[in-house]
Symmetry: C2
Subunit: 223 residues, 2 copies
DNA sequence: ATTAAAATTTAGGCATGCCTAAATATGACT
DNA sequence: AGTCATATTTAGGCATGCCTAAATTTTAAT
């Protein structure tokens, strides 16, 4: 029996397991899930006994195909829910992460299908993350971090971190949402703020925010 | 902190506490929730310590105002969910009880409000049960049991039990849904079947089914 | 290679919520 | 009032999932 806690761990490990072969360490999981390292070790033992991951003691874990499949299903639930809550129910994009975190564990496959149909089988959630397909395909596009873009470049916003409601409200107020074209006008030194031209207006945002926004370089354009 | 299990107990006790002052006994709760009597005693102790109910040892329990309030909120969630799943998402009415039983504990107040708005602040769920108002008003109409209606009488279907998916599919196939006008043509003796005239056609249903359907007497009519 | 710091695991504990078996209280009948 | 069946509670146990503190392993630095 897969419990909600197990699903949460599998999801976290999947998302932290950036490189396909990279091992994920206990401490990283513990920090991401806000539990003690000892708790992570305990859960790892349980998941390993169910062959949902392989554990190399003291050297991290790696999901098996079975573990990956469950993680992808949970992530599909989560991202479909986020989009459904925004598009169909009228939630603002800062509230949906928390709501989806609870709902993702309890909805049925039929609920998932009804959402997918209502949304026209979407591929991207409100924050720009790829929605895994039903058969478990998840190719996360790898975008660049806005904070690391050179000044002068033109970019398109592609993704924002979804778990910081206040930051999401701030970003929405600036127009920094997926799809928005933006120019990095200047970057102040000593980790200073970025000056961005968004929709014709200049805004200054700190590096911390800029590290939570992911972009794609545009063809250089003159506007 | 109110756990999901506590919410389930409070909901069950509320629904079993038919008369306003009636005590609900341990064994009745145990049977309704499919757990042992000992488990019920344990949970009762916990709920009593939180002053959500009063426990008169060996003589049953009675919800306090606080306990009632929580029960009503859970029931409001459940019934709004059932209607939302049917009306907005396109579920059939036999599937929604199970889905709502899981969702009712995890949705936010905002989720509840969005559903109520989308549905136009409804008062009745797909099976004919009253949806408590936000301020906790629940006047359950008391209908008559179809099995106990005298032959010859005209009735309107008002309510059906929502937790037996197969029976719900059967009833829907017959047209025995809330709002349907029906005549009890005959009742076979020795707990035999009822002959009903529904939408011009005669159908024969067993007593067990007829005990799960609740009706209101119509003005006697000639049709 | 030794040692110290950091990461990880083990050990033991706690709350929740379920169980079975045993003890106890209630209520109905004689 | 005494007896017995039934209902309820108490006692003790188990799985889950978290915790802290102690022991152990790894890794990095000298």
């Amino acid at each position: 029996m897969i419990t909600h806690a197990m699903e949460d761990y599998l999801k976290a490990i999947y998302l932290l397991q950036k490189g396909e072969d990279a091992k994920v360490h206990t401490s990283v999981i513990a920090q991401h899930m806000d539990v003690s390292a000892a708790s992570v070790t305990g859960m790892i033992r349980k998941l390993a006994s169910l062959e949902l991951l392989n554990h190399n003691s003291y050297h991290g874990v790696k999901l098996t195909e079975g573990g990956k499949k469950i993680a992808q299903e949970v992530i599909r639930h989560h991202r479909l829910l986020e989009l459904y809550l925004v598009e169909i129910m009228g939630f603002t994009w800062d509230k949906v992460h928390h709501e989806a975190d609870k709902l993702e564990h309890v909805i049925s496959e039929e609920f998932e299908e009804k959402m997918a149909e209502a949304l026209g089988h979407p591929t991207i959630d409100p924050h720009g993350h790829t929605i895994p397909t039903k058969d478990g395909n998840l190719k996360e596009a790898s975008y660049k971090i806005l904070a690391e873009i050179d000044s002068g470049r033109f970019v398109t916003i592609r993704q924002v971190n979804d778990d910081l409601p206040e930051m999401l409200r701030y970003l929405a107020g600036l127009g920094l949402v997926p799809g928005a074209p933006v120019q990095v006008v200047t970057k102040a030194p000593f980790n200073g703020p970025l000056c961005l031209k968004i929709d014709g207006f200049e805004h200054h945002i700190g590096r911390e925010v800029a590290r939570n926004v992911f972009v794609e370089l545009s063809e250089t354009q003159t506007d």
